[in-house]
Symmetry: C2
């Protein structure tokens, strides 16, 4: 908190309510998550688009029901009325409607969205937070894009090293609708009853039944019939549910429902079950069926879903230690879920006004929640390597008289070779200060210059952090002319990725003016298996 002195107005030095700065290790962890997720999307041929942070107010109007009150509006400063985007789905649908020549796309979008939560909220829910959406638009054969989205979801959580710690709960809107019809739910009560069912992940059936009958006026017999279905689930079971009396596989539950004569006779339920049958076949081919739980209590809040729906849950879905990350009222991510989505075949035509729908299926990853779980797990993992703030490979230092020009010349050679390098911005820094600077940032290697060594055309390369009794603790003498090659050898042994991917060398390096060129050095360096 800072207050201006003197004649200036005083004010509090802070970010706006519900927003935060990302910096330090949090920023590094977040970037690693984004980069792993992006890598999976690209592996499946996705492209990204970027839409403005605000949309015309009327584009967002009527899309979020009663949550519309949470939309941030821009001030009316003349001209168009605009609002900050509330999610990434509506801008995507708007973009598709505007670009009608695009009949198919796989797009991802990682960006901030804005929700003006009630000022009374004490939970610290963020008002600016990241979403990471992947959607497939286009007319394809049934369930193929849907299956690939499930596969992509699995690849992402494997990439995040959550293997065995997540379950994809899956259901189908048409099965739910058919099931409610079969049980005798009046048409006008379909949505309220569906939303009551959606609470089964946090409330027992008895409580949900009470809501249906007492609050929503459902015939108790109808409620009991629903109860026979919605407690059913089959497949991977991460979070135990007390109501479950038998353990089915996802395929087992599907077969049981397919044998249910009342359900099979209902057109909607039949269509949903056929979809699920095909989907399960594809998921078996993709070897990810064992990661899903077919769960009849999954209903999802948003109205626009028309087919398969899913939510990803994890054992760490509800971290009680970090209140900030709670999104329990966030409609895009279900309670306790880290990703959620489904098929929405009618949304684009709401914008285009065309009768022909552009079918879509997608998923939204709750990256803020994924971040906080990842951070917790990393903190608990004592064997994990410490997180480095920057990626510097080499700290260039000198003992004695400072050797500023020489340190700068060496840093320049390393930058030319694509090696990440720093040196102290002091003319005559003390050696311990330089070691300290390297140590603080976890820089793995030092190049140490000394007048005597330089006179012989040599310098030292030292691996930082070696134990006192290590034979190379004081570094290894190398010829100055071989410096890049010697470093490539060491960096190559430790890690790939220290070579720049693109040709970003300065002229000096291209002309081979300074020791080895990158190409020569790369040839010199041993390959890693």
């Amino acid at each position: 908190m800072g207050r201006d002195k003197g004649d200036k107005k005083s004010y509090e030095l802070k970010t706006p309510k519900g927003t935060k700065d990302w910096d330090g290790k949090d920023m590094v962890i977040r970037d690693q998550i984004f980069s792993k997720i992006t890598e999976v999307f690209k592996r499946h041929g996705a492209v990204t688009i970027d839409t403005p942070v605000f949309e015309l107010k009327e584009i967002l109007a009527g899309k979020y029901g009663e949550d519309s009150k949470l939309i941030y509006d821009l001030a009316d400063q003349g001209g168009e009325l605009c609002s900050l985007r509330y999610d990434l789905t509506v801008p995507f649908a708007r973009w598709l409607a505007m670009n009608s020549s695009i009949q198919s796309i796989k797009r991802y979008h990682i960006a901030k969205v804005y929700r003006r939560d009630q000022p009374a909220m004490t939970k610290g829910r963020m008002r600016e937070f990241y979403q990471c959406d992947f959607d497939i638009a286009g007319v394809y054969d049934p369930m193929l894009p849907d299956a690939e989205i499930i596969r992509i979801t699995c690849e992402i959580f494997e990439a995040l090293e959550w293997s065995g710690r997540y379950t994809i709960k899956i259901n189908h809107r048409k099965i739910l609708d058919g099931l409610f019809e079969v049980c005798g739910v009046p048409t006008e009560k379909l949505r309220p009853i569906s939303s009551a069912v959606d609470k089964l992940d946090k409330s027992p059936w008895s409580e949900v039944r009470r809501e249906m009958t007492e609050e929503k006026g459902l015939d108790p017999e109808v409620a009991d019939r629903i109860g026979e279905y919605v407690v059913l689930s089959g497949g991977k079971d991460l979070l135990e549910r007390s109501q479950k009396d038998e353990k089915l596989s996802a395929r087992g539950l599907l077969e049981r429902l397919q044998k249910d004569e009342k359900l099979s006779a209902n057109a909607s339920a039949k269509a949903g079950l056929d979809d699920m049958d095909l989907l399960f076949t594809y998921l078996e081919t993709f070897e990810v069926l064992d990661r899903i739980s077919f769960d009849l209590s999954l209903a999802r809040g948003l109205d626009y879903y028309t087919g398969v729906i899913y939510e990803v849950i994890t054992e760490g879905s509800r971290p009680q230690t970090s209140e900030e990350e709670d999104r329990s009222n966030d409609p895009s991510v279900g309670v306790g879920s880290v990703a959620a989505g489904g098929r929405y075949d009618g949304l684009v035509s709401m914008f285009s006004g065309k009768k022909d729908n552009l079918p879509c299926v997608g998923i939204s990853f709750g990256v803020d929640r994924i971040f906080s779980i990842t951070k917790q797990r990393r903190a608990a993992d004592t064997s994990a390597a410490p997180i480095r703030l920057n990626e510097v490979d080499v700290f260039v230092m000198a003992f004695g008289s400072g050797l500023l020009t020489q340190r700068m010349q060496v840093a320049k050679r390393l930058w030319d070779a694509g090696i990440k390098a720093e040196f102290s911005w002091k003319a005559k820094p003390k050696l311990p200060q330089q070691f300290k600077a390297a140590e603080v940032n976890g820089v793995p290697w030092s190049v140490i210059l000394g007048e005597d060594e330089l006179a012989k055309g040599q310098c030292k390369i030292k691996q930082n952090g070696l134990s006192e009794d290590h034979p190379e603790k004081n570094g290894v003498l190398v010829e100055m002319k071989d410096l890049e090659a010697e470093l490539f050898k060491r960096l190559g042994r430790k890690e790939l990725g220290s070579l720049p991917e693109s040709g970003v060398l300065l002229d000096g390096a291209k002309n081979g003016m300074n020791g080895l060129s990158l190409e020569e050095a790369a040839r010199e360096a041993p390959k890693t298996g």
Copy 2:
């Protein structure tokens, strides 16, 4: 443009004025630019921070002079009053003031900023646009961070392949102030006269002189004395200026000014000249002095600069073909410049209220303008490889009866191996359609499945786009079990980067269930030099 039919309100389907969607090849080019710039920043040990898109209104107040009217405000919906960020410098200074434990940092930030330009503007200036800022905060020995910023700037434009096509104009606020004092400019006229000088890059001296004397009431003799100095420049000269009567090097001009007895006797000018002397020495060591032009007419608009100032210009700085990218009134980027910045030692204390300044030096890259120049040049370069929308390496296809399951199994194997792969989401696609899909996206390789080949445990790998008479035009038969290794061989020969950097494999691949594991395949593949 779409209008809803029926009872819904009709509205125009568009993005808000001054904003745009980024998609297709533009998005790919932009991402490549961001990634090259980021790579250079990381090579120099920079970290990134991310601040909210809006700040408290009072944080921005009083920072932008008369341009404050361009700030976007959020509507008053109760609670704090907020505004969209206008640049990335003020949020950085606010962050530094809030985090007073941070005494030094090199940070970059690539993000959108918002300026509500006059609705009367017909130039199509964007209201939402990207800035890419790099700043160094901390107390260091003189000119060392400043020199590294110039070096970083050169590395970035080299990475963007602008070699030989850019010039860094450089000057020093203290030299300018001293020069004006020596010439006899009254203190109260320092800023107006400085801003008149700043126009010398688009107006002749006669016009600037007229403004000084007629509009700003400067004594004509004083103006003439200024005129003797500010037409001087030395060093790399990209854009010819008619007033220049002799060709000096940057060092040559510096020496001439150092010999100027009146200037040297002025404390401010002397301090600036000493700084420049040291800076030039460092730039020589970094081998980038030949890319700068010491230009006494460079003044920069923003008041907060206290030391060295610079602007990067290019032969394509003023593209007349694309009106959208014009930023001629953008104070963060000088007229015709693609990057600009300088030293600002007093800004952080405006927020912290502390007497001790945290000195800063930084540069802001006009990435929208860099984008439009890059795009123009790429379009003009007929030898350049076409821009691919996605990065898919392999399209998995089949002839005959569709072979959907087999195509899915192969795609899964490739994903497990980190190979970017797609297949048609049709159960029985026609072969020409599959080739077409691969061709449209420029996918370099196809894996072609056929029943006869599969029965023998084989499939074909085909390089797409081979000429009719190429011996491998119809593909090469390989053993199914060797598929990943065969593809690694071919992809490795063509490009690095198809191997995932992180361990993102599914269990199947880890267990070696499907042909070779990634590690085995990588060992099999020949290394590229």
